[in-house]
Symmetry: C2
DNA sequence: CGGCTCATGTAAAAGCCGTTCACATGAGCT
DNA sequence: AGCTCATGTGAACGGCTTTTACATGAGCCG
């Protein structure tokens, strides 16, 4: 009856316009605030200005909303990782590290998505689209690992790219999940999560025999002739991947 | 009124005997079944055979129960890690890898505890006792890293033990959280989580310059005279830390 | 042994949430 | 204008959390 309601109806088109989108946005905000566990279907409805039953016209239940958000999260995640990887430019190792940073940045800047994707208890296989999105995201890491593996110094056995990808993923997820979540109470660290992960990945790559000091890394993705000293123990950059934190 | 109730009263002593313990056990079972998110205070009360209000005599609210379980989890975790570390016997690297395996074993065998500790959204600092227990557990890893760092091959800069500990923790947590949770739907892997983590840690240690083939590792914790070839690139075990999975 | 007291448990109630169902409404088509 | 179907509403059910007033019986004190 109130003119306010009429006006709102006018602003948006039909009934609500696009309740589905509004609910997704509201849920995203609520999850960012109170976590996926604290998020409530009714709250999202209230925030969108509709009754508590309305959301059921767009989502089978609360879990489906969560799953939709997780799916969207994986899609954005994929595009961020893709951009960071930038097809291995300017060189494979640099791009690889950028992917690691992008992983952490996503966890930090999109806590709601990250929460829905990895910490909400939504099983990845609850929804084929979700599963597919998750795999597409992982495939970025996998493709990067593939390129990196191809650069393995000759003479040493070539590491399986899949394994490398899983290792990198576990490191990034471990750091993000333990140390890199914004406002929520987390552990105290002697260095930033970014630095922590960067050092971890560098040490790991060195363990695989990759030269990890920038000087020896050619700018092209094509394997340059590796100077023999680069894969020996003395190729360690002075100070190591750690060193004084800035 | 029912004789059944009377009998139960007889079996246990006073009122219930030890409701607190019964509630903790019930909650543990429920969390193992349905996850920390699905666990309900009322269910635990029902399982213990008391009214829904009774638990409030022992826990301020549901969160405090969860936090108590997380605390207990960290205590058991600490004792498991301590046993696995076994003060670095028979040699530091072997013991170190055993700690990694113990980490995964705990996540796999005590999903309820692991869930409450790391995935329930309970902030570590919600309870000083919880925080302390968590730190004690981490200190095991830290102490192990300290011993390992002391073995760093001479000539190379010594890695900070704290950083190593954080790296190892993030790897173990990453693998456990992404791949190593029992019944819940998880990703498919080309190798077991244990193998994945073992390879990851070995590569990492090699990246720090540690000799990682067993032959070159003395049984004592005292640094043996490191043969110079052990820290060079040719010290790689044939096949690398991966190789055919058994 | 009798009675007091306090910890421990119960019942009932308020408030919230998820979910369902019958019903209302209005957008777009004929 | 009228039909129809997608979309939103209101009311209702059961369940959960938490609080409050009340019950009970264990252990102590005389």
């Amino acid at each position: 009856m109130s003119w306010r309601k009429e006006q709102r109806r006018a602003e948006r088109g039909y009934h609500h316009g696009n309740l589905k989108e509004a609910l997704l946005q509201a849920a995203l905000g609520l999850i960012a605030e109170k976590g996926a566990a604290g998020f409530t279907f009714a709250d999202a409805a209230r925030m969108a200005g509709v009754s508590a039953a309305a959301p059921y016209r767009h989502f089978r239940d609360r879990d489906e909303l969560l799953s939709s958000i997780a799916q969207r999260g994986f899609e954005q995640f994929e595009s961020r990782l893709t951009a960071a990887w930038d097809d291995g430019r300017p060189d494979t190792v640099t791009a690889f590290e950028r992917v690691g940073k992008a992983y952490l940045a996503f966890a930090r800047e999109e806590p709601a998505f990250y929460n829905a994707m990895f910490e909400s208890g939504v099983p990845v296989d609850s929804n084929p689209a979700l599963q597919a999105a998750s795999e597409r995201a992982f495939n970025i890491i996998r493709a990067a690992a593939e390129r990196l593996a191809a650069l393995a110094p000759p003479g040493t056995p070539r590491p399986p790219a899949m394994m490398m990808a899983l290792h990198i993923w576990s490191m990034a997820h471990g750091v993000a999940s333990l140390f890199s979540r914004g406002d929520a109470a987390r552990r105290k660290l002697p260095m930033s999560p970014d630095e922590l992960l960067e050092a971890e990945v560098l040490i790991y790559l060195r363990g695989l025999g990759f030269p990890t000091d920038r000087r020896s890394q050619a700018r092209s993705a094509e394997p340059p002739p590796v100077p023999p000293e680069a894969s020996s123990g003395s190729g360690v950059p002075p100070g190591g991947p750690w060193g004084k934190p800035k």
